[in-house]
Structures are given as C-alpha cells and as structure tokens.
Amino acid sequence: MEELWLQAVSILAATLRTATPLVFCAMAGMFSERSGIIDIGLEGKMLAGAFAAACLAVVTGSAWLALLGAVLVGVLMALLHGLACITYRGNQVVSGVAINIMAAGLTVVLGNAWFGRGGQTPDLAPEARFMPFKILSRESAYEIPILGPLYAFVIGGHNLLVYVAFATVPVAWWVLYHTRFGLRLRAVGEDPKVVDTAGISVAWLRYRAVIIAGLLCGFAGAYLAIAQNAGFSPHMTAGRGFIALAAMVFGKWRPWPAMFACLLFGLLDAIAIRLQGVILPGIGQVPVEAIQALPYILTVVLLAGFVGRAMAPHALGQPYVKER
C-alpha cells in the first residue's frame, strides 16, 4: 500500500515535469491561434529555442543568458512566420511546416559544425542549468497538514521553469479575458474585418500574438535543453509541439482546459515512462512502443470523438485581405 502510494505521487510529480513544455507550447499556440494565425510551427520554434539555449549555456555558462537566447530565437522564428502569414498573407500551414523543417535541419547541421558530436551539445554543468530547488525541506513540509506532504512529494522540488509554465496559465487567462489586448485578440481571431472597422490595426495585433507565441516556445525549448535535460540532442522535442497543439484544440482554445489537457497528456507520458519493463498481471511485459504511442492514440481518439465540434476561432487560417 505504502509503495503504491509512493508510485502514484512520483508519477504525479513526473506529470508536472512532462507537462511543462506542453503547457508553454499550448499557451503559445493559444495566443497565436486566437489571433487567427495557425501555429503548426510550435515544434520548430521549441526545437530552435532548445538548441539556442544549449549553445548559449555551453558558451556563457549562464542559464539566464541561455534562456534569453532561447526566447530571442523563438521570437525570431515567430516573426518569420508572421512575415509570411500576416504581411505576405501566405498559407499558414505551409509556413509552419517550413519552420519545423528548418529548425529540425538547422539545429543538427549547426550543432555538428560547432560541436562535432553528431548534433549533440556537450553536457552542461549544473550552474548552466535550471536545477530543482526546494524552499522547504521534506521534514519541515510534513509539519503542515495536507498541503505539506503534497508539497513534499508532488509540487516541490522542481526547477524554476516548471513553476513559470504553470504560472503562465492564469496570466494568459487574465490577459485574454480581462485586458483590452485580450478583447482585441479574441475579436481579431473571430473576424478581422470587425477589428479593422473599429479602427484597430489587424497586422499589429497579430504580430504581437505571434511574438508572444515565439517567446513561450523559447521557454519550452530552454526547459527541455537546460532544465529537464543537460544539453541538446537532435530532434529532442519529439512531437511535443504537436501534442501541445492537440491539447490546445482539446481545450477549445481556452487556457485552463488546455492546461488540463496538457496535464492529461503529461500523465500518460509519465505513466509510459514508469511502465517500461514492468510486468502487468495477465498481459505480461507491455511493449515500450505501445505505451509511448498512447498519447498519440489518445490525441486521435479525443479529437475525433470526444471534443465534439471543435470551436476554432472563426477566422483561423484566413489571411486578412482588405481590398477585393
């Protein structure tokens, strides 16, 4: 019994860690798509951000400079997407795919050229990373009823970026529903013409939205490369950008539901890791591949069956053309 409980809490703690990049990316996607710009390039921006963070951490040895670099690269890629989709009214899916391919290719090529380890960056020292920390020791946490053990085993002991990720959710919610920017953002994704005739610049609003998306993807990338892991390895995002996109759709483009969807996918991921090599009664050893495929299968099932009519922003994917 004791052991089962320990298993459960450790899975929950792992859930928070696996959900962190998803939450960053889901919020990124939400800002972009609420403005009407499809963001299929979450994956690429995150990957490029991860690479930038790892490189800068190697060179400067500072986790903070690395984070800054990741954010800058994320924003830069987002601006590229914005230029193609907003200014030149290109196809948003094509531009997003291009960003993904570019990031996947460039990171390996540059990594090989600079470090010569088959695309991997050298292992980072703890000073160059965001390390887990605790404000309370496990013993002192036990003094507090209910919340204490929860802190000791689940909430406490993660790195800073995990907390930042979950803090972006209420912030995103507040921005979206309680600020002028949020009102305009929601409006421009529904009907850019309304925004235009209200005397507001559609392009500037959408640029701000994709910049926020780039920034959050940078955070996600930095988390993967210099917090969860100790360096960059090729294709390390492994489809998380797409899973985040699915979580955002599952959450119907709303911050809290999207976060819960991320936690669900994170939970599956955490269980998958935990189940590796475990022998289940009646089934035998579960193939690792089957478990790793679970989040993706779930995505398909959820999107196909349980979401109902996905309530996408009405103008999603349509470039705004004023003149006929």
Partner: protein, 527 residues
C-alpha cells in the same frame, strides 16, 4: 429645416455653414473595374441624405472610402469644411463618422457590451471601461429607444437588434455623421419602420445621416436630399420632395424603366409538386425546416416570403435534392422523395425540376469557367452535348451562344469567363440554362439579388411567360415587392415553419410584414 435649405442652395451659403461631408473628385479603381469616377458629393449638416444606385454603381465603395476601409486613388475629403486624410477606420472614427455596414461588423460569440467596447475600451484593463460603457448604453437606450441587453450574445440576437448594436457602436464613439449601407435588406417592413424612427430621433438631435440603398421607396420615405449614382458616377443630386419613383429609376438605369408588370390571372392546372410535413435538420442539429407542406400547381407562381435565414434556403436545397430530408416527403410529378428514398439533384432534374439557386456564385456557376462550361453544368450528360467518347465542344458552345441571344446575355461571348459577367447577366445565363429544357417545375431562389433594374425587368417577364406556358414555379425571395408582384399565392416562412398564406392579389405589405415577424402568433401567446 435650415440645414436642408443649405444643402440645396449650393455653394454661397454652404460656405457660411460648412457641409458635414464634402467629397471632391473621388476616384477609385480595382484592377480593371473603375468603381468611382471623379465623384463629387456634398452632404449638408443635420440632413438625411440618401444615396441611391443599382448594385455595383459604386455607392458602397464610395462610403468605404469615406470610412477609411479603402483609400481613394485621388480626390479630397472635407469634414465640417476641414480637409481630412482618412487612411483607416481609425481616422474616420476620429473625424466623427460612424458606419452601419451592410454585413454587420460584429463579433458573433461576443456580448453586446464587448462589441460596443471593442476599439473604445477606455483603458488597458476592461473592468474600468465596462462600467462606463454600461452606463452609456443605458443613456443611449433611454434617449433614442435603442434597447438591447448588454450581456446578450450577438449570435442569439435577431437581425434587427444586431443592427441596433451597430448603431450603438457608432453612437458610443460619439459619431456626428452616421452612414448606413443598405440597412433594410434584412429587416421586415415593421423593423424598417422602427429603424426609420430611430434615424429620425438621431437626426432631430443633430446627427447627419447618410442612407445608402437601392430601394426607391425608402429614399422617398425618409430622406431630405437624394443623390443618384450610376456606373461609378454621381449623376444627380436633388431635393427628395422634387423626386418621383419613375424619375429616380430613370436616373439610376439611364433610360426609361417600367416598374409595373403586366400580369394576367393565373390558370392553375394539375398539382406538380406536393410537399408534406417536410422537416430538415442541419448538421448542428438545428431544425431549419419544420413540418412544411404545400401544393404547387402547373401554371402558377407560389411565392415564399420571409426574412432571410428562416429556412427558405434549406427548403430550396431540400426540394432540389441537395440536402437530405429528415422527415416528411416530396412528390414531384411521379417521383416520391422521402428520408428512406432520397434523391440526388440529377434524379430530381430528370423528373422535370429545374433549380435556379439563391447563391449563384456558390451553386449556380463556376466563376473561373467560360460561360459555355457553366452553361452545361448539370446537363453535361445530355446526348446533344456528347459524342461517342468525348464531349462535343462545338455543340455546347453553339447552344450557349443561341440561348445567350434569346436571353439577352451581354456580352454575347460563350468563351468569356463567368466571373467577368455582371450579376444580372450571370443570372440570365443560369435562367437560360434551367428554362431551356422546359421544366415542369422551376424552383427559384432570390432571382434578382444583386441584379440591375434592367435585368430584373427581363427576368420577371421571363418568369411570367414561363408560368403562362404551364410551368409550376416556386419563388423564394426576401424582396417583398418581388414576391408580391409575381406570385399568385404567397406563403410566409418564419423559423422554418409556414405561418401564413395569402392570395397574391390580396397581399399587402403590412399583413405580410406582421406574418414575417410572426407577430400574430406572438400576440396570441402573450394573450
């Protein structure tokens, strides 16, 4: 009253009292289309000024330039005597111009309050502005009778109220000049009356009103001055009290037009189309057509009136085989259609039903096709168009050319892309295609939407001739005048149901209008 005098008197006194709007030499082209040609327009302060013209005459373009939606290629805009540069809607709003667009500029999932605040939030956070906006909405409701629930979602409001939100948006931004683009297209006659009352109230408080319309009656009912546009040019401006329907119509079209139709008494024959308990439920689970039943006989025109969006489109689609029935049945001559025995458009067509769709660009023609290709669509399997293996291109082109002649489609070139024809000529082409095979039943949706007066006249005469030749015609139109002048019997649709039937000769606008709003049933419910 004084303001009206100024507008009419012309420049000397106009300088003493500057015009609300003065447009000088506005010119605008979209590619090859010259939408506005050197347009001059003066609108007196405090007046209600009508701008009338046919579809495509350039009225909307001109107002879009005034509102900063398009930028003019050349020309000057003066507001209250001062030259202004309008680069975007922002500048227009700052200059005191408000606009009620033909297609409402409202975010559907938003509430009324959010829509009104959008762009005039009064601060970076919504909370502070929302309180003030609420108070202001209450004041506007009190002063002008513009009552709308601020927390209602736009998508849940009837069109008339949505339009009020558009007006409220403009007033909330302190507009002194209110431009309304075809505001009555979606309203019942009663709602139109209410709108005009609101406009008069606004006008009495000094708001200058510009009303754009293609309906002569509205111009005569409410405006002080009227300007007429034709093919991108401003052809005349005159005081409304000196204008008559005939004169305005002539100015709009550029030649004499006959507004009245010669219609003989119908001689109905056998029942050709019989509809029983027809119900259509759409993909969202909404009941669009609700237990509709009627008989349509040979040699009569049955009109279906109603405000757009009350199930007419779905009824048309169900009859023509495009949309499956949910329950009930249709009997077309000897063909029985029911949910268990569905029929596609081809089968329905084979049994003698021709369909002129409401939305001709979506369902009627392929704009990228040359005229002859669109002309054979649906009939492309006919023997006369096909050789042993390949289609007979020459036969199709010839057939198209012949009917273009008979239906006066201009220009008479079967090779021209469909998109390059005007709305009226596209419609004549479709009508030619559908009528050519002498259908037993013709189902027509909005036959004259976006069609110029000359073509309207032609299309109406063709429909009457077809009726007299023994065809059964079902006419669906949101233009009440059209339904009343053509139909032998009129059904009124409201929320998918048929709420009334009136004899064509006995129909009057008031009765139909009340039925369209279903006021009769509502009064009963209340009692």
């Amino acid at each position: 009253m004084a303001a009206e005098q100024v507008g009419i008197a012309g420049s000397p006194s106009a300088e003493a009292w500057p015009a609300a709007i003065e447009l000088r030499g506005i010119d605008k082209s979209f590619g090859a289309v010259h939408a506005n040609k050197n347009v001059d327009l003066t609108i007196a302060k405090g007046s209600i000024h009508g701008i009338i013209g046919e579809n495509g005459a350039g009225k909307s373009t001109l107002m879009s330039i005034l509102y900063g939606f398009y930028t003019a290629d050349s020309g000057e805009i003066l507001i209250n005597g001062k030259p202004v540069r309008i680069h975007g809607s922002h500048d227009a709003i700052a200059a005191g111009i408000g606009m009620v667009h033909q297609h409402f500029m409202l975010v559907e999932p938003f509430t009324v309050l959010e829509n009104v605040m959008l762009g005039a939030e009064g601060g970076a956070l919504l909370r502070a502005g929302a309180g003030k906006a609420r108070a202001e909405l209450q004041r506007l409701a009190r002063d002008y009778g513009l009552n709308v629930d601020p927390d209602a979602h736009i998508a849940d409001l009837p069109v008339g109220e949505q339009q009020r939100v558009e007006i409220l948006k403009a007033l909330f931004r302190h507009c002194e000049i209110l431009v309304l683009d075809e505001p009555t297209g979606v309203l019942t006659p009663q709602e139109t009356g209410q709108l005009f009352q609101i406009l008069r109230a606004l006008n009495a408080r000094g708001v200058t009103i510009v009303l754009i319309t293609h309906k002569l009656r509205e111009i005569l009912a409410i405006t002080d001055t009227v300007s007429v546009m034709r093919q991108g040019e401003m052809v005349a401006t005159l005081p409304t009290k000196e204008a008559t329907r005939e004169h305005l119509a002539e100015l709009m079209v550029g030649r004499k037009v006959r507004l009245e139709l010669d219609k003989t008494k119908a001689l109905p024959g056998a029942v050709r189309l019989s509809v029983r308990n027809l119900t259509v439920i759409d993909g969202k689970g909404v009941k669009r057509v609700d237990s509709v039943g009627f008989d349509l006989r040979a040699g009569e025109i049955l009109g279906i009136a109603g405000v757009s969006g009350n199930g007419q489109s779905e009824l048309l689609e169900a009859l023509s085989g495009i949309r499956p029935l949910s329950s009930g049945g249709i009997k077309l001559c000897d063909l029985e259609v029911s949910p268990d025995t569905p029929c596609g458009p081809a089968e329905v067509r084979e049994h003698g039903l021709a369909h002129v769709p409401e939305d001709r660009l979506r369902l009627g023609v392929v704009t990228a096709f040359p005229a002859w290709e669109s002309f054979v669509l649906g009939y492309h399997g006919d023997d006369e168009y096909n050789g042993r293996i390949l289609m007979d291109r020459e036969a199709m082109t010839n057939a198209c050319g012949k009917l273009m002649e008979r239906f006066d489609v201009r220009p008479r070139d079967p090779q021209l892309r469909c998109g390059s024809f005007s709305g009226g000529n596209q419609q004549k082409l479709i009508l030619a295609r559908e009528i050519a095979r002498q259908p037993k039943v013709l189902v027509v949706g909005q036959p004259t939407r976006g069609v110029d007066i000359g073509a309207i006249e032609f299309i109406h005469r063709q429909l009457l001739a077809l009726r007299d030749a023994g065809c059964a015609i079902l006419l669906v139109s949101v233009e009440l005048d059209e339904v009343m002048s053509l139909s032998d019997r009129i059904l009124v649709m409201f929320q998918g149901r048929i709420v009334g039937e009136v004899d064509g000769d006995a129909a009057d606008e008031r009765t139909l209008g009340l039925m369209m709003a279903n006021a009769h049933a509502q009064a009963e419910d209340a009692a």
